[in-house]
Amino acid sequence: MKPPRRADRLLEWFCTPHLVEEIQGDLYERFTRDVHRLGLPKARQRYWFNVLRFIRPFALKRQSDYYSPGLSSSNMLRNYLKTSIRTLTRHKVSTLINLFGLTLGITACLVIYLITNYELSYDTFHPDSERIYRLVGESQYGKTGEKHPVGFVPNAVPKAIREEITGLETVAAFHNISSDVLIPTEKEKPKRFESSRHSELVVVDPQFFDIFRYQWLAGNPKTALSEPFKVVLSEQKAHTYFGNIPLNHILGKEIIYEDSVRVSVAGIVKEWAQPSDFGFTDFISFATIRASKLRQSINLDQWTDIWSASQAFVKLPQGATPEQFTAQLHRFGKMHFTKDMELQFTPALQPLSDLHFNVNYDDNYSRKAHLPTLYGLMAIAAFILLIAAINFINLATAQSAMRAKETGIRKVMGSSRANLIFQFLSETALLTLIAVLISLVLVNPILRLFQTLTPEGLTVNLFSWQTLTFLLFVTIITSLLSGFYPSWMLSSYVPALTLKGQSVLNGGEKGYLRKGLIVFQFTVSLVFIIGTLMVSRQLNFMRHKDLGFSTNAIVSIRPGRDDKGPVLAQKIKQLAGVERVTMEWFPPMGQAFMVTKLTYRDKKKNVEMDVSAKIGDENFIPLYQLRLLAGRNFLKSDSLRELVINETYAKALGFKKPADALNKLIKFQDNAFPVVGVVADFHEQSFHEKIGPVFIANMPQARNIGVKLATQGKQVGDLKTTLASLEQTWKSVYPDKKFEYTFLDDSIAQLYEKEQKTGQLVNTATAIAILISCMGLFGLATFTAQQRTKEIGVRKVLGASVASIVALLTKDFLKLVFIALVLASPLAWWAMNQWLRDFVYKVDLDWWVFAFAGVLAISIALVTVSFQSIKAALTNPVKSLRSE
């Protein structure tokens, strides 16, 4: 039998405090009587009415009778600003620590925001971009082959889809080509532009420009690409080819691709300013393919093979979903790729927004960003900012005792709690704002410093409205995050107590919150430390583990498709400083590898499996110092005669000892070849992949050259001269081509580019996290030491040793770091396990890594804290006790 609670609350809310009790009492008495007389529902109803009747001037809460300026009156704002500046300058150490921490945090946030924003904005600017999809699919070679997602389609598919799939708005195919470009000039020799990257020249359907909108600067968008031998150029490319002449004069000029395909310029479009994976600059009309020699390399009627250069995009009509087409596309695949065909292919649609992130759908032009890394980056930014905010909270609450008097006076003078909170918050906001300004200055140098980590083509516009909104958002969040709790606490002091000089610490007297926050900071730092240790251990492992072959001083040269390669190899062999030369397809390990089907047949069974092919001449095995376990190297020959296989393959075929595999016949493309040797396993891909079956043989594909340079007793300078003579030899064979080479170590290191980047990132994050945490700890230690000056003085007078006092001051902090270690270990263990799962060959998560991280953190904390503790312990007690 209670009166309605809400009504009571309402009353408490509007009624002036000194009347609440009696009114409530009276109403309650009334209510009890009403319940007896009228029953509960009616009584409750009356209670409500009675409460409402008290909404009358005499009972309403009154604004304070004093004159109290509003929160935002300009006088008060000026006062806040003034006191803020005064406090900030008075407590220089804590201000600097806070400013430093906040600046680091905000800079990290800003840099990471710029990077993630850039990556996430890829190709989002196209009109109707949500309706644009790429034709991708799932391919399978043979009946037993694995199914692979592919980001491209067989050449004949786009046209068939346009004709057979109903309900698609537009279908546009294109092909990436790479070729030297010739510009005919009046003089006899045309201007030559070296073959550019794969991502610039495309042969496109005219519909491409219906899907992707460009601004046309010259030419007619409707007809430009409808005929063969036409090309549309981007504005910049047009100027590169023809110099700075008016665009209209460029129309109709001739360009030659692939040495003989003459096309004329039919249009010029403006490049997109926003980030996009489509950096195409030369759009050759699709009709050119059938009309020129391009048809040799791009067979438009081909169903049975698939090339990454063959791309197609579709635009769905308004309101259509990709799921609507799944069944149709499935049927399409079933119909065109019959059971007896070598290639099985099922088309599918990939949203444009997925293009920049999905590594499964590969192609020749897009640069993939790793989404988990981006999310990881965001988390790192948030954590760093949080750590900085925690510093602020800790220092502010620790120093709050000093400001208790100020709060008391302000309250006595008539300040409301809201006023006080606003005042302290404005102090935080001022500090944050300064930090934001500093980080604005820092961003560009930092981005330059970390250029290797930032995505290619990152352009920074600090003053775009998006960035400014983000900064505003960060400023507000940071100010609230770091300022709200301290200001809430400070404003809660009861003036009567603080002005009397009584201790004002309440509730969190023992500083549980502060301790909790320090534990949090160090937990984050420790996770980062353990992460750094593990990532660098794994990187070290990958760098130094025996790969099963030699990578030292080996240079790869790729002469190209003509037949002058052997001539060049012969010439290189004769150079001084060259130890050995092999004609090969690719080095044992690298990004490129080929898998083919081999069959082994013995009395009982038939073993058919995918085997990776390493192709090279008889010098391949000795040059890379692959270890023969049994048998011999294959003999010199012009074509495939003999095979060498690796241990894994020998085992997979069922031979217990490598020597058992010798002289067995293995079938490759209808012919059987004898195994003459077995080599020890070596890594052919990154450590993410398991070592699989491999065979080594000589085949006509061996057109590239591997050169082992002599290193015995040589200096770095000698290496340079050898490289220079290599270049001379190259020029004598290929006068027109640029000499390019890669060191094998470098190309292997490139396999771990992502891991290297992760390593660098984690290192940086760790450094920042530790730095900020330590600054906070330092500030707190300074403060505790100051507060306990008297205590230390008394202890010293009573005979305490310096060591015992240092221990006293340090112990507390170390305990916190220890707790943090206990919390961080399982977290870090989980995170690192997650990361290491991607590797087949990896280091173990040893316990000593955690122990080492703990020792490291404890010693860092110890150094930070002991500086202050020792200083405090050494002060002469006379000084600290002299004045009261």
């Binding site: 009347l19 009790e21 009696e22 009492g25 309650y28 008495e29 009972a59």
Partner: protein
């Protein structure tokens, strides 16, 4: 003679406070007035009147003991101040003198 104006309702409330002699608080006053005058009075009106009277200095109040019937809340008990008493007396005197000057005092109407 200048004195604080007292409204009719206020006068009744003030008189009732005097009648209840130290036991005057919101609910008790309401009941008493309803009983004595027969008019419908609401709690909030009584409170408002008491508030005004206290502002004018005619009643003073103190908090009583908490009681269970009020959900453990205290009553505010009102008593008439000296100033209040004098005001009541003055009103009474004015009325008496006016009545005495009435030449043809009203007689209670009896059935003729």
């Amino acid at each position: 003679m200048k004195r604080t104006y007292l409204g009719e309702f206020e006068e009744i409330v003030l008189l009732t406070v005097a009648v209840l002699e130290g036991q005057a608080y919101g609910v008790a006053l309401t009941h008493e007035i309803i009983e004595q005058t027969g008019r419908s009075v609401r709690l909030n009106q009584i409170h408002a009147a008491l508030q005004r009277l206290e502002d004018k200095g005619m009643v003073k109040s103190e908090m009583g003991e908490p009681t269970a019937e009020r959900g453990g809340r205290r009553k505010r008990l009102f008593t008439v101040t000296a100033y209040g008493r004098r005001t009541l007396q003055e009103i009474q005197e004015v009325r008496v003198s006016l009545w005495s000057r009435l030449v043809n005092p009203f007689k209670p109407v009896t059935s003729l």
